[in-house]
Each structure stands twice: as C-alpha cells, then as structure tokens.
C-alpha cells in the first residue's frame, strides 16, 4: 500500500507560493487517513459480527433439526451401549431371608377379540365357551356380531388354553403378552404378600400393581425398572413360616377356634420371622373384600396387625416391670391382693373370684392377680404408665411394612383416669394388635430396649431407646419363666428351651356394648430361651373352646399355651437353637458353723 504523505512537498510549496496555510493540507490529509482507518475497522467488525451470527444460526438450526428428528422418529433401543442390558422391565421379585422365592413374574398371554376381523363369529363364540366354561356363549355371540370393535375375553390364559384358541383358527382372536404375578407357595404368608392386579392395560403390555400387603407398601420400589434385578428381601423364613402355619392350623382346629394368629419376632432386630393369620387365602386368586358383615370374618383380615383387641392378662408383666424399673417394688415385695378393691366406683375382681391373699410381685404374675397388678398400677400412677406404654409403641399403629398395619391403630381410653390405669394394667381398656404385643415383649426380652417390628431383613441389631433397666427386664423374664414352671402356662414347657411367657384370656366385646360370656380371645405371649432370649412368639386364638374335659375350657392356659408350646417345639430346632440344660437356681449359701 502506498502511504500518502501528510505534507506532500509539491502541494506545500504550491500553497506557500499562493499564500495559503500549508497546515490546512496536513489536517485535511489526517482527516482522510482517519476516515480510511475507521472504514477499515468497521468493515472488520461487521465481518466478525456476520461470522458470529452465522455460527449462532447454524448452532440453533442444528439443535432445532435434532429436536425435529427426535420428535418425528420412532424411539429405538440404544444398541451400542453395554449398560442397556441391565434394565429389566419386569416387577421385582420378593424373596425370603434365605433368598427363596415368595413372589415372581410369569409370562402368560391375554386373549382379546377384534370382531370386524372375525370370519365366523358364531362358531368362535361356541368354541371359546367350550375352552373356557365360565364364559357365556350368548353374550359372546352378541359381542362378536354387534358394533364392538375390540373386547377383552380373558386376562390370563395358560399355554394349553392358548393352543386351543389357536386351533379355533379365527384371525379375529388375538393374544397380547402379559406378565402375571405368581406366588409359588400358594397360601403361604398370604397376608404379608397381599396380592397384585393389573393397572393400565394395553394390547402389548399391562401394568402390574400391588393391591395389598407388602406388594402395595413397596409398590414404587417393585415397579422401578432399576430394581428389576434386585429382589425385595423380607425377614420372613419360608420354612419356619410353613411350620408355624401348619402347627397353628392344627391348633386352631383342635381348639375349635374361629381364627388364629401368631407372630414370631427376633428380639434384637425386630425382624418378624413368621407371621400367620388364619383363616387365610390364596394371593394368586385373591378373594374380593366383603361388603357386609364383620370385616374380621373375611380371610383377607390380617389378625396379626389389624386384629385390635383387649388382650387381657398378658399386659400384667408391663405393669410389674415398670414398677420394678421405678424401684417401687422388687420381685419379692409382698402385695396385698385381697378384696374388696374399689377404684373409681368399680370393684376389681379376680378370675373366678379367687383370693390369693398377700403374695409377692412374682406370684402376682404367676397367679395372674388382677387386684395385685391394679395395686402396682396405682403405685406407678396413670401418667408414668401412659408414657411407659407409649415408649413401647402401644399408642400408635405398628411401623410394620404392609399397608394393613396402618389400619391397626390401638384403641386407647378416652380419659386416662386411675380406673383406666388399673384396668389397663391387666390388659383391659387398651386394645392392641398381637404385633404391638410382640414388640412390647421383645423389649423385655432384649434387656430393655424398644423394638420396632420390621418385615425387611436387617444386617445388624436395631435397638431403640432404653425403656427399662436391664435388671428390671431380667426379673420380669424370671417371672415369665415361673409362669410356665409353676403358673397358668404349665402346658408351655418345652424341654431344653426354657420357655417363659404370660397367658391372657379376654372376653370379646359385643358390638352393642358389654362382653360375651362364652367368646374369648386367648393369648400366650412367650419368649425363649429365657436365659438369653432370642425370639418372642405371640399366639392368639379367636373364640377357642377346649372340650376334652367335663366342661368346655376357654382359658389361654388350656388353649393358646399348648399350641404355642407345640409351635416352639417345631420351630426352635429350625431356628438353629440348640436345646440347653437350664442352669439350676443355686440354693442360698448358709453359714452353718457356730
């Protein structure tokens, strides 16, 4: 580029000659040069802006085009990534603590019809009715020949039935794949598992949703495709559950009971190893809920968590253990149990109007004295009794992980008067489920820590807050042991397992108020072995009658206790508990030298 000089000599000389100011020429040249520089800078800036603008246009166009392509194209499985294979679309399995299947999926087919494509609707209808006897021929014919374009015929069919339908050969009969929830063990643990059903249904797939029990409680977890390969591990043990159900069913028949329930709980972790409620049902073919009558008569009713009843004398140990924990009494403190005893205008009586006189706290439990426990409760006081029972979890529904558990809310006295304190002390006026009771007994068994019942397998002990001292819990366990060796639960002795427990027989309340004379709830709450308790077992029979004697016997000692003892005899070896020779209580050493 040729630079124009600012002061060109020729023009300067010429200007000087003509008397003009030569500086004007220089200023003019500077101006022209500045204008040139400005134009060049503008051009460069405009060029840059254009490039930048083009870049943005391209970028947005690319994003827009990609969005358009994604919106209009069919979705396809990512083929090149290896991780894609891990996604398993089926509902997750449910297994017991040893990994044995409790619930899984099974591929079946659903049968549907598209009448416009049918060749011979009448014959197809007749043939279908022959394969599925529960279908109505006339209705099928009406549907096939009517205006309907689509109808479901069967939700689930077996491969044999599918083959038979294939052989009809009608192109209007079509199949859609279906995942079916299968409970291979039939009625086993039915109340825990609940059941599953179909949600939204399409031709090529259907949603499987849990309708009750653990299936509904963990529905979100089970349906999450990310969990397809990680089954839900429950704390139940299949073998022990099966043995418990068998023993309990036999016991229920022998004792002519209408229903029965048992809960076996690990006292350190709160894991429920087996929970049975009879009568039961098959979750593969879940019956419809009853629309009238008493809900507790339905097999769907889970007595272990929903059966909220006054459980009677099994509560006495809580009063005794609290009185001992507070230091008001010890196991040998003498209590006057003689009558009459009046609290708030009501007289407190004993079973069959017995009178035990003045006996030790230990004997109050062994003989199951109402007045004795009542007097302990008066010493403890209503306030402290309430907070103690609350800390054991008797005031709220159990956190047990099935949906039914939330409906088993305990029934509490409206006002906790002194009379309430006395009646609650022997298990009346406070209605709870057997699951609550198991948690309460577990606290005594594990040395005084509150326990939350759980259905999920735990890896380590889950001890809650301390609710009583270890010493009080130990004395309570000795008392429970004495109930079996020399008290109301003498049928509960199982050689080698040092069973301790407390019986409870409560009259059933009438709907209209008051109590039935001849209908009871018999409960045996037990722990074994009392020397180092590992398990708590609650057995409850609904309306049992033992008829081997002259008179029908209904007390728990004659009904629930033998059933529980048989159950322990069967399941303790399965739990891996070795029978132990009980340590004999040492005689007091007496100094005999003079």
């Amino acid at each position: 580029m040729i630079r124009t000089p600012l002061r060109p000599l020729a023009r300067i000389l010429e200007a000087r000659a003509s008397g003009r100011n030569p500086d004007a020429i220089e200023r003019e040249n500077i101006r022209i040069r500045h204008e040139q520089m400005r134009d060049a800078a503008r051009q460069r800036a405009e060029g840059r802006l254009l490039v930048l603008g083009l870049f943005f246009v391209c970028a947005f166009a690319a994003v827009g085009a990609r969005m358009g392509v994604m919106a209009t194209s069919e979705p396809s499985e990512p083929r090149a990534e290896a991780a894609g294979a891990m996604i398993h679309a089926a509902r997750a399995d449910i297994v017991d603590r040893n990994g044995r299947l409790l619930a899984t999926n099974f591929e079946t087919h659903a049968l549907y019809a598209q009448p416009p494509q049918m060749i011979d609707p009448e014959r197809s209808a007749t043939e279908l009715a022959r394969i599925f006897p529960d279908l109505d021929v006339e209705r099928l014919k009406a549907d096939f020949t009517g205006a309907r374009k689509f109808l479901w015929i069967k939700r689930k069919i077996s491969p044999e039935q599918m083959q038979a339908v294939h052989e009809i050969g009608d192109p209007g009969l079509l199949f859609g794949p279906r995942d079916m929830r299968l409970y291979p063990n039939g009625t086993l643990a039915a109340h825990v598992l609940g059941g599953a059903s179909y949600g939204k249904e399409g031709v090529s797939a259907a949603e499987v949703i849990g309708v009750a029990g653990v299936e509904k409680y963990f529905d979100g977890y089970l349906r999450d495709p990310a969990n397809g390969n990680s089954p839900l591990t429950l704390s139940l043990d299949l073998t022990i559950q099966a043995a418990s159900e068998r023993v309990l069913r036999g016991g229920m028949k022998m004792m002519n009971a209408k229903g029965a329930t048992s809960v076996l709980m690990d006292v350190h972790t709160g894991e429920v190893i087996s929970v049975v409620s009879l009568p039961t049902f098959d979750p593969n073919d879940r019956p419809r809920p009853m629309v009238q009558g008493d809900a507790s008569d339905s097999p769907l009713f889970n007595r272990a968590v929903q059966g909220v009843y006054e459980l009677g004398s099994v509560f006495k140990i809580f009063t005794a253990v609290q009185a001992m924990d507070l230091g008001l009494v010890n196991a040998d403190t003498m209590i006057d149990t003689s009558g009459p005893m009046k609290v708030g205008g009501f007289s407190i009586g004993e079973f069959r109007n017995k009178n035990y006189g003045t006996i030790s706290v230990s004997d109050v439990i062994v003989h199951s004295s109402n007045r004795g426990t009542g007097r302990l409760a008066i010493q403890v006081g209503a306030e402290r009794q309430q907070s103690f029972l609350k800390s054991l979890g008797f005031f709220e529904a159990t956190p047990f992980e099935i949906v039914e558990a939330a409906t088993g809310k305990p029934l509490l006295p409206k006002r906790w008067t002194e009379l309430s304190a006395v009646t609650v002390s022997y298990g009346h006026g406070l209605s709870t489920s057997p699951m609550h009771l198991a948690a309460g007994y577990a606290a005594i068994a594990n040395g005084g820590f509150a326990v939350k019942p759980t259905l999920l397998k735990q890896d380590a002990p889950h001890l809650g807050q301390r609710v009583m001292s270890d010493a009080a819990a130990r004395s309570a366990r000795d008392m429970l042991r004495k109930v079996v060796t020399s008290g109301t639960a003498s049928f509960g002795e199982v050689e080698g397992y040092s069973v301790g427990g407390k019986t409870g027989t409560a009259d059933k309340p009438k709907k209209s108020g008051g109590y039935y004379e001849d209908k009871v709830i018999a409960t045996f709450a037990t722990m074994f072995p009392t020397t180092d308790p590992k398990y708590v077992l609650i057995v409850t029979l609904d309306e049992p009658v033992e008829t081997s004697g002259d008179k029908p016997r209904r007390t728990a000692g004659w009904t629930a206790v033998p059933v529980a003892a048989e159950m322990i005899r069967r399941i303790a070896p399965l739990l891996g508990l070795r029978p132990a020779i009980e340590p004999v209580a040492l005689e007091d050493i007496k100094l005999t030298s003079n």
Partner: protein, 117 residues
C-alpha cells in the same frame, strides 16, 4: 512432482473410502450381532425366571411335606427335633487302622534246636 502428489492424494482418498466402507459394514454386523445376543440374553432371562418360578413351585413346603409323607416308607423323614442336635465332641474319631499281617515269618527257633542231635 505435482502429478505424483495428485495421484497419491487420489489413491489415499480411495483407500480411506474403502476403509470407511468396510468399517461401516463391520459396525453394522457387530450391532446386529449385539441385537441377536441381547435377544438371546432376554430369552435366557425369561427362561431362567420361568425355571426359577417352577423350581419354587415344585419346592413349595406343602408339596414337599406331602411327598415326605407319601414316601415315608422309603425315606422315613420326620420334622427336625431338638434332640437331633449333636455336639462336635460326640463324634468319635475314626478307629485306628488295624495292621494286616500278610507275610508272617515263623520266629520260633527253639524247635529247630531240639531237632538237632
């Protein structure tokens, strides 16, 4: 010189195109093989879950109990009882092996002496 450069460049382009073409086909083949394997895995999964369900169904406690009762004559199975627990010190050591004498050597030499005159 320039001609040689042109020829080389053209050859390189042809070579690369051929390589890309082959790679493309190899990729497609690998993908379709992946698809096949995926579908095999899925089918194997399904079959496995059916077998597992069947195993669980055949091993359900009710059935096993009935079978144990039916075959009591040959198996003699009864529920586990508490006395069936053993302690390790109740198990006897295996008896010491008895040494077999196979080639006995008669060592009573006294008779031989007597026979000598």
């Amino acid at each position: 010189m320039r001609t040689v450069l042109y020829i080389l460049t053209t050859l390189a382009v042809i070579g690369l195109a051929f390589w890309a073409y082959r790679e493309n086909y190899a990729t497609q083949a690998a993908l379709s093989r992946t698809d096949d394997l995926r579908s095999d895995i899925r089918m194997a999964h399904d079959r496995l879950s059916v077998l597992r369900a069947e195993w669980a169904y055949l091993n359900r406690p009710d059935r096993l109990r009935d079978l144990a009762e039916l075959n009591f004559g040959t198996l003699g199975l009864l529920p586990l009882e508490s006395y069936q627990f053993g302690a390790i010190d109740q198990v006897a050591y295996p008896p010491a092996p008895v040494l077999m004498i196979t080639e006995g050597v008669d060592l009573s030499a006294s008779k031989v002496e007597e026979q000598q005159p």
